[in-house]
């Protein structure tokens, strides 16, 4: 489906990107088109090393595509923009700052009209939303991995970005902590609506969190398959064990296998 609506918040249009390495050219993304509507949340899955992280860099403007265009809210992206929030697998909190100061970091960079008290209130409000009330003055090293990732999500959202880019944010967490954070994500979406893209390796995570799951082909990545995920107002973990979900997981699994074997052949 290369069609897209003009008013979609994230539009990726026929994007091709190639890395120049010492052994020659390495095409990572080829003719990729996809879009995310306003307040939509799309998960992107695909084989390891198929160019998913490159995609996040293209959307955030850290990289420029060789061909094609990326639009955020109708504007073509040529440089990084302060209307983007990012979180990675590594929470990358600054160890010399308290949790609340870490969350406030984007407000020190992005132009805004908040005074220091309002900035603090904004950070506090987000921290309590993810269950970190009372941990504001702690140092990152005093928190568990899951708590650090919660703080990292707050930092990504503190400046009310139009677009949230999540690059495997839960990849390094244990299964139960991960499920806790899925619920946190649902809370955040309800209270702080955002348009988001989630890169993940976890198919259950993709259908539990996203409205749409896009499967990328093996390198060079293009859109191979997508599926819309119907969402209830209050998603429950049990829904993952319904026959509908299981069928969806099976077909996604199949698509990943196809993509993997294609990537093997292209080597």
């Amino acid at each position: 489906m290369s069609s897209y609506k003009k008013k979609d918040t994230i539009i990726i249009k026929d994007v091709t990107h190639t890395y120049k390495t010492e052994t020659g050219l390495l095409p990572v993304i080829k003719n990729l088109s996809m879009s995310v509507p306003e307040n939509g949340f799309t998960a992107v899955v695909g084989p390891s090393g198929c160019g998913k992280s490159t995609l996040t860099k293209l959307i955030s403007g850290l990289l420029q595509p060789d061909e094609g265009e990326v639009y955020l809210s109708g504007e073509k992206i040529t440089t990084p923009r302060p209307t983007v929030g990012m979180a990675f697998q590594n929470p990358v909190l600054l160890e010399w700052r308290s949790i609340i100061k870490n969350v406030m970091l984007p407000l020190e960079i992005v132009p805004n009209k908040l005074n220091s008290l309002e900035k603090e209130q904004r950070a506090k409000q987000l921290l309590s939303l993810v269950g970190l009330e009372g941990f504001e003055q702690k140092k990152p090293s005093e928190l568990s991995g899951g708590m650090r990732q919660r703080a990292s999500l707050c930092r990504a959202l503190v400046h009310k970005p139009e677009v949230l880019i999540l690059d495997e944010p839960f990849g390094a967490l244990d299964a139960f902590t991960r499920e806790d954070l899925w619920q946190v994500m649902h809370n955040l979406r309800k209270e702080e609506p955002f348009t988001g893209i989630l890169i993940t390796h976890d198919l259950r995570e993709s259908i539990f969190l996203a409205d749409e799951v896009v499967v990328l082909s093996g390198r060079p990545a293009s859109k191979q398959f997508f599926v819309k995920v119907p969402k209830s107002k209050t998603p429950k973990l049990e829904s993952l064990y319904s026959s509908k979900s299981i069928d969806m997981l099976k077909s996604l699994r199949k698509q990943i296998e196809i993509a993997q074997s294609q990537q093997e052949q292209n080597k």
């Binding site: 860099k57 850290l62 983007v84 990675f88 990358v92 600054l94 010399w96 984007p106 880019i165």
Partner: protein, 251 residues
């Protein structure tokens, strides 16, 4: 209280053992001076000790200060640019490999009579290397995600440096500074011992040698140790203030 008393007892026991060693072996003081010889030696020249001790101290500190400036500058260049690192690093390693004792006479001849300049120069040359290396490693091993977090918000390079790169490198920097302090003292003393008619504790040490005043030489060693300890702890305090976050609490 314990962490003051335990080291204090250790020092006292060390001095007693030293005194006993000399006394049991009946060593004359030109072989090994005992602690009881050192105090009179110090007292006899106490004016010179304070005057020369000050010379040694300020020369070392100025040399170290220049080493910090140059070391941080070189480290930044090497940390940010791969090409410049490849260009500068071999030169630095080569320069560092030259034993500084061999450079001392060259510098002494180059600026004959300018004792302060000579001494500061050697203190600087001997101590900037670990600082440059640690800063460059600190900067070049900065995880790309740290940079991306700020870059994706449109932060400038200098903002990324001040907000993230610099504070993140501070623990490595202070580790290197502790090494550099000791090295700078070596540099200062090498030059002070060699320079004729110079000043500083090194010169006092040398005059002890020429006049066969062996307890004086030992007293100079102790004075140098005290200065070194003092300067080292100044660095430790600075580290606590600026990079205390890197220390994990153990309780």
């Amino acid at each position: 209280m314990r962490h003051i008393l335990v080291p204090l007892y250790a020092i006292i026991i060390f001095l007693i053992l030293w005194e006993l060693l000399v006394w049991l072996n009946e060593w004359p003081n030109y072989k090994m001076a005992s602690p009881s010889d050192i105090w009179p030696a110090f007292w006899k020249f106490k004016g010179l000790f304070f005057q020369y001790g000050w010379d040694t101290l300020w020369r070392t500190v100025v040399g170290l200060f220049i080493a910090v400036l140059c070391g941080v500058f070189l480290g930044m260049i090497m940390g940010f640019s791969k090409v410049l690192r490849e260009a500068i690093y071999p030169l630095l390693v080569g320069f560092n490999a030259i034993p500084k004792a061999t450079v001392v006479p060259i510098i002494a001849l180059m600026f004959v009579g300018q004792h302060d300049l000579n001494t500061i120069l050697i203190a600087f040359m001997i101590s900037f290397f670990p600082i440059a290396v640690s800063v460059s490693i600190g900067l070049s091993t900065l995880e790309p995600e740290y940079r991306d977090i700020l870059r994706s918000l449109g932060a400038s390079k200098s903002l990324i440096f001040w907000k993230i790169a610099l504070p993140k490198t501070l623990p490595e920097f202070f580790g290197a500074l502790k090494v550099a302090v000791t090295l700078a003292f070596i540099g200062t003393n090498l030059m002070e011992i060699v320079s004729p008619h110079g000043r500083g504790l090194g010169a006092l040490f040398d005059s002890g040698k020429t006049n066969s005043d062996y307890p004086l030489m030992f007293a100079v060693l102790i004075a140098l140790a005290l200065l070194g300890i003092g300067l080292y702890y100044v660095v430790v305090i600075l580290e606590k203030i600026f990079a205390g976050w890197a220390e994990r609490s153990t309780d």
